[in-house]
Amino acid sequence: MANGIAAMEALADVIIANKEKLTELDAAIGDADHGINMTRGFEAVRTKLAAAKPEDIGGLLKLVGMTLISTVGGASGPLYGTAFMRAAVVAHGKTAIDTDTAAQILNAAIGGIKDRGKAVRGEKTMLDALEPAYEAFTQAMAKGASLTDCLTLATAAAASGVEYTKTIIATKGRASYLGERSIGHQDPGATSSYLMLATLTAFAKEQEA
């Protein structure tokens, strides 16, 4: 379980390191709090991780989800919180993640965000990074790729998804008030989703090396 906790600490590190960037992106099309809110959430996650002893990855993901729900403050709290809580159900009883479990976790997390946000792909949200990532992951998995190869392809697809959000109009959240003026700006939620996926990918590669 030390690996799982280290992976969540790596997520906290990348979000906190990108606090300014995420807030700048949100300032352009939203209410300029994504980096601040996510940093507050993941600082609380880091504190909780230091004290907690989760027995399995399900317990670990649940701890992260509950903490984000109660500390983030903005819409990303219940959205990412629900994503981690749904992922926790899939990971219940598991102490290691294989390719199949990783796909199920990603799928459950995406389902949580869609249900909670009543959103679909193409609305300039987290889903524009995560859904292409899931598709790339499962396509690679079907060809027998390793976990790290699946994750690498998923991360590349998420990066393309973030680029795609620059070309579309926001129809969800505060950015929807801007209408066409939201074009040209990348979505902060898609960006934080990409950052987390890229971090987990790098973490998995380090484990393999």
Binding site: D31, N37, R40, M66, I69, S70, T71, V72, G73, G74, A75, S76, G77, P78, L79, G81, T82, R116, G117, G173, R174
Partner: protein
């Protein structure tokens, strides 16, 4: 009586609205503020909202009033986390938070049902100032 929970990003806003609506409400009317974060920052906290709903329920259900954006998503998550029995007796109003809460408090205080109180809150959208 139907209980009322007021969810705002700001603890002060939620408390102020409860204070104002309380002037119009009967003694014993549950009006519970669930604003801001535990550390006093601006934001919404689904666990705080969940606890407020449970505290506001006296058996006749609870109407949840929300302000902007994440208040809606956090309130929906809070409702999802309630036990099934209470969940079926909670509604989130699509209404202006201040006028809606005042109108709902009056309606709830005279013992109207959750459906009626919710409709009254939502009807506050059409209230004219002059």
């Amino acid at each position: 009586m139907v209980g009322i929970v007021v969810v705002s990003h700001s603890a002060k806003v939620a408390e102020g609205i409860c204070e104002l609506a309380g002037q119009m409400a009967a003694p014993g009317q549950k009006l519970i503020a669930a604003g801001g974060m535990a550390d006093g920052d601006i934001g919404t906290d689904a666990f705080k909202i969940q606890a407020a709903i449970e505290a506001a329920n006296t058996g006749d259900g609870v109407l949840v009033m929300v302000d902007l954006g994440s208040a809606v998503i956090s309130a929906e998550l809070a409702v999802d986390m309630l036990d099934e029995e209470l969940k079926s007796r909670v509604a989130i109003a699509d209404a202006p938070i201040l006028e809606g809460t005042v109108a709902a408090a009056v309606d709830a205080s005279i013992g109207q049902s959750l459906v009626s109180v919710a409709a009254t809150a939502e009807g506050a959208r059409d209230l004219r100032k002059r």
